[in-house]
Subunit: 522 residues, 2 copies
């Protein structure tokens, strides 16, 4: 046994060394890290995940050349908390990206939000600096838009993109248009310098984001290791695509946006190969939450066979497409049933850089390198939170729902439907139903669509409940919730006068400061 | 233009010649034809179609080495009519596999059915004889069990399998157990000589069917061209698998059955390659109808993102997994969006044999060789019948529903649910709703789940309706319905004393002959 262990260790060492590569100076250099984070893209949106139109040839090729996770999860069914979790390796309840204004409410960072990523959180690019990484974020930040939350104050060296969603257009009176930044300063606003035509769906943004990625990679590839966080948002409503892609998809405008992103990812991977740095660049593709079925069919994607979508803690809300690609290191054509989390990208990236996560706080992300490089499966839970509430937990193949809720009857009667065409009695409830005493348990292998709860009387139920309860108790006993960041709203903090506005003559006058509780309706 | 046509013809000729191969004698020999027909397997059951457990490595490899159809359809949402359509190239309404006992009812061939495949129908193996083919059916026939309907009376040279489903066990008094035939004679009965353990799910049948296929291929490969129709039924409830596969799937017993079939198909394709006949064997994989969600999750499969399942004319009832594989002829790694039909396998097989379909009758199947060999897309409708009623039609991306019905309120309240967890208001109706005046139209590219009917007022609706109406009118004007075969039932015609029963001492005494109308409840 000792010999086996020793052999395993030697092999791990070899893998780490071979993973490290060599810099231009001949000194070992950790690999570049490229995270491709989609916005509201669903598990079922890629050809390789069964989308019937099969319009993602580049991503399908990336899957064939790498490793595909069918069981990979976001940390929250909504954008901001999920992104905060990715960059901190911690659940939103630990990093502050949640609300306590009401029970089990989703919250994000609209223009009027006061909060954002606390200084006490250590973000991935901040930590990667210790290993000499140069970091850039392209696209959507969504971790707060007030000056103290700026990505360049949290470890990124460069930024091209926006702090908020591309909602709009606004009148710049009651509400300003959303700014687009280059590094420290605003360089224009959506619907102004960066037009989005809501009628035709035309916008050039994905092309701009592509160019930003290509330029950064070309600049960095031969010097420092880089961390590029490519957080495009064309698949978030209002969805958009540039002219050459508009009208080209069988799936309508949403499909046009997917096609343009797929094409861009093809170009990015091609550049890595042309520059001969593909084998020294770890690339990971995933999405921030499930497809927004509320926007379907024109503006929303597909969650494949799963139940419901964005905003919910059913599988459709949080199970994500996920592909790892690292030629020469991650063996091509693999599928791993490891339960993965977006938070693992934090810990895994640190491991790639030869760093360990901060030891002074709880970290929820796992180092996935044993899975990626050696095919290991690690036992770990997935927690599904909605705001302050642990709604569900998955362990192995079993998922227990402690609370169920899609949205309120009031919202639902107004036509807000997060589960169009789906209705599982007692499961897709429009009241927040308490199952903590007797959780609903599903076997996700036999029943990925969460349609058939296990019988409470079955031995399988009892066994699964006992395993999950023990893990949940452990989690909850150790949990120290952060100060919630998404409780207070104030119209005065909107993007009225971001840095750089003077140069552009685009400073707007904020209204009187009136902090108030944010209203989160679901 | 003339030059282009001539060039195209020359190219087609070349393809046909190259497709033909050469027999042992040096004379051109048409390719072997191997149809792998699944039972109640759904579109979403293969890894390559997005099944999350990804347990079909052999089928996924077959897809990667051949051509995948995402838009391939059965001819009916029920077994018998779909199989009759495959072997005749004709819709069930033309070949008699339907009922007029009630409006829009599904019907099949239970033991008490009097009807079966009429002698006037020309079946594929009958026609292939003209090109020297030797034909074998392994598995489920389902085209009638009375002597005149025997597969060896309709062109097959060999049979190992059963005329009916493997329902049971029966008491051999009120109802006999189902016979298993070798060629002309019964060699035993299910649950007797061919055990199926309903409790454990163990049965050796897929292994027997595999062996039958391998033996036939080995015998025929070097002599005559062969047609092998491998119609296994392990994925039809009660699902079964042999001991080495039981308990091995993440998906439960249904998954065990899929894994055993996948493994068997891997062995069949491997044998073709070992015998060096793979490039002279056209292999096609598909299923007879959508997954039987009524049997989910333990005994039913997955229809991926599609609506409802078996028994319905929604996509989940009739869209099928479909793979073509013919190394050296069908280019590897293709996806074709051609609307395909199980009836195309009739016409395509004839074309492979250098034969043309009978000219004295309407044939619904297309020759898919231009699609398979040259990537051509052909405009054609898909018709969705339920018994005597045209429920829906698809043309291009648009599907029009003329009638909607899942099943009756009465059945539904008894717990019979063909759409568990799904409910699209006004679409998944429990009354047979007449939309013939104003059809519901869906765009299957944007909305594969049939959740969002187009607005009646939209230009898209008007345009699609006009195109579809014209094709449907043409179809209906030319349609000559056959004498319905599935109207009369009689307990005296059950499998009491099939040929060979004397040798086995297994002849049972039929009850008095009392013909009556069959009752079809949905």
């Amino acid at each position: 046994m000792a010999a086996v262990v020793a052999a395993t260790r030697w092999w791990q060492l070899l893998l780490v060394l071979s993973a490290a590569g060599m810099g231009a100076s001949g000194a070992p250099q950790p690999p570049n890290i490229l995270l491709l984070l989609m916005d509201d893209m669903g598990w079922g949106d890629l050809g390789v995940y069964g989308e019937p139109s099969r319009e993602t040839p580049n991503l399908d090729r990336m899957a064939a050349g790498g490793l595909l996770f069918p069981n990979f999860y976001s940390a929250n069914p909504l954008c901001s908390p999920s992104r905060a979790a990715l960059l901190t390796g911690r659940l939103p309840i630990r990093n502050g990206f949640y609300t306590t204004n009401a029970h089990a409410r989703n919250a994000y960072t609209p223009q009027e939000i006061v909060g954002g990523i606390p200084d006490s959180e250590q973000l991935l690019p901040e930590l990667l600096k210790k290993a000499g990484y140069v970091s850039k974020i392209v696209g959507k930040w969504h971790l707060g838009h007030r000056p103290q939350f700026h990505p360049l104050k949290h470890g990124f060296d460069e930024w091209f993109g926006s702090p908020n969603c591309h909602f709009g257009p606004y009148d710049n009176k009651a509400r300003p248009n959303i700014p687009v930044y280059r590094d420290w300063e605003m360089v224009g606003r959506y619907y102004e310098e960066f037009p989005i035509n809501l009628k035709t769906g035309e916008a050039n943004l994905t092309q701009i984001y592509l160019q930003e990625a290509l330029d950064f990679i070309k600049r960095q590839a031969r010097h420092h290791p880089f961390f590029l966080y490519w957080a495009v948002d064309a698949t978030h409503a209002p969805v958009y695509a540039s002219k050459p892609f508009l009208g080209t998809s069988q799936r309508g405008r949403y499909g046009d946006a997917v096609r343009e992103i797929d094409d861009s990812i093809g170009k990015i991977l091609e550049l890595l190969q042309d520059l001969h740095v593909a084998d020294n660049t770890f690339v990971f593709f995933t999405s921030d939450n499930g497809a927004a079925l509320i926007s379907a069919p024109e503006q929303g994607g597909s969650n494949g066979p799963f139940l419901c979508g964005k905003q919910t803690t059913f599988e459709g809300g949080m199970r994500e497409p996920a592909l790892a690609w690292w030629p020469g290191h991650v063996t091509a054509g693999q599928v791993s049933h490891q339960l993965g989390s977006i938070m693992d990208l934090f810990t895994t990236s640190l491991a790639l850089a030869g760093l360990t996560p901060p030891s002074d706080r709880a970290i929820d992300g796992l180092n996935l390198l044993p899975t990626l490089l050696q095919g290991r499966l690690m036992d770990r839970p997935i927690f599904y939170y909605r705001g302050d509430t642990l709604m569900a937990a998955t362990l192995g193949q079993h998922k227990a729902h402690f609370w169920t809720w899609t949205n309120s009857w009031e919202n639902f009667r107004q036509g807000i439907d997060f589960c169009p065409g789906q209705n599982v009695s007692g499961v897709t409830t429009h009241n927040l139903e308490d199952h903590t005493k007797l959780p609903l348990i599903f076997h996700l292998g036999r029943d990925p669509g969460e349609r058939f709860p296990l019988s409470f009387a079955s031995a399988e139920y009892q066994e699964a409940l006992s395993r999950i309860t023990s893990v949940v108790q452990q989690h909850q006993e150790a949990l120290v919730p952060a100060q919630p960041q998404l409780n207070v709203c104030n119209w005065a903090v909107m993007n009225w006068a971001p840095p750089g506005c003077e140069k552009l003559g685009k400073c707007l006058t904020p209204p009187e400061s009136i902090p108030k509780k944010c209203l989160w309706s679901h």
